[in-house]
Amino acid sequence: MTAILYLASAVAFIVGLKRLGAPRTARSGNRIAALGMLAAIVITLVTEGILNWGVVAAGLAVGALLGAWAAVRVQMTAMPQMVAIFNGLGGVASALVAATEVVESDMNGIPAETVVTILLSILIGSITFTGSFVAFGKLQGLVPGRPLTYPGQQVVNALIVIGLIGFAVWAGVSGEENGYWLVGGLSLLLGVLAVIPIGGADMPVVISLLNSFSGLAAAAAGFVIESNALIIGGALVGAAGLILTVQMTEAMNRSLANVLFAGFGTEGATGAVTMSDLPVRRATPEDAAISLGFADSVMIVPGYGLAVAQAQHAARELADTLEERGATVHYAIHPVAGRMPGHMNVLLAEADVPYEQLLDLEQADPQFPQTDVVVVLGANDVVNPSARDDPGSPIYGMPILNVDRAGTVIVVKRSLSPGFAGIDNPLFYQENTLMFFADAKEALEQTVSALRSL
């Protein structure tokens, strides 16, 4: 009977995930999944013969308060970091479930498959925990975002992996509890060392992959405590996280292995031609307003600079002003704009931009030749024509928004500094490009007021 009730939870997760995949049903999907989770918790509390009610209640209260506080407080721009923290905590919870099993059971008397799944829970859960927190630190600026590499790094990591295997075998064969703790400790260390050589701009891929890991850790914990609900929930997330990860790397035209092991961003700048001496056309707010004021079609291309400047509301303000003047305005969203796929969409949605105005890469790109003015807001690599024209460029082959084909391109940027890939951008030096050096938010506000006085 209990198994049937858990099955209802699992069905709620599947239906919820499915509905999360379409804009109209997404919110209800999330709620259905949350209800499934609530049901699973209640079923567990009622049927599992809980004895230590104090411990359980304290854990639930502390976790619920912290989780709710963080969820309500977090800024939309900091969403990727928040997901990283939640994900890390979910991972460590699975490891702790397995650790409790080690403490409680006679490790010599349990079946081999339980030993293996306990070790897997501890391993994957611990890596997820520290890996996610390093990713959080990199995005938050607490840990240097650049790839941290040192000589012999691969050797050190390989030794840790060998050590892990050794301790795992020892723990399993001897039944020695300390073997499990050593596996846990080394896994925590491996999580840190595996993520520090990856550049800050690739953290979303890492978080997405670790999200998949936290699902696998949960599934492994499900094997330990023989719970199908856990196995189903974990497998769903493991698969979903993997697909999202692959889609993200494809959008950057890179392989997952390249993201994880290449230390991308360390050598990019050396291969590129230095163009910083070339002249650029600087624009004032009035120049931008004149170009925009007489345009029939405008495309706004937001990038991470928009998120940093919290300029999403100012961007909508500009779009509204232009629409009142009779122009059609769309937003072109590159798949890796911002810090996670869809991050830009969330920010623009926060500013009340209707999602019909948001175009993805395939929809937006054919329109650039017919677009009068493109406004690039703090985006760089995703509009860099080198990715299309220069086979020597580190980002060559990455699908880009071909904004250089539009009538006029206004690039709002704080300086000429290159993007995360460390590559100069020929777009900035083009004839039809106006460089507007300013913080995205200030630039937009000044342009809107200049437009109003046209």
Partner: protein
Amino acid sequence: MTTLVVGITVFVLAAFVGFEVISKVPPTLHTPLMSGANAISGITIIGALTAAGIGAAPLAQILGFLAVATATVNVVGGFLVTDRMLEMFKSRGDRERRRA
């Protein structure tokens, strides 16, 4: 069938369901989807509740408490933050209705 074989069967089938359900998602929804999926991975909370609830050794209870607390942050925070994100996705129609 042993419990292990049943478990593996369930795992493989659920993974296929996960691939099928996710593969048709527009990029717009990637961030909320990742966040929502992450909240679902907090299902490990049911293992945590059992571990904390029936552990006899003091160390088991401490580990169990930590497991429940961390899993609950994942679940409660994850679903709430996803809802906050999705609340903002509105079509033009919704937007005009709300202004009226």
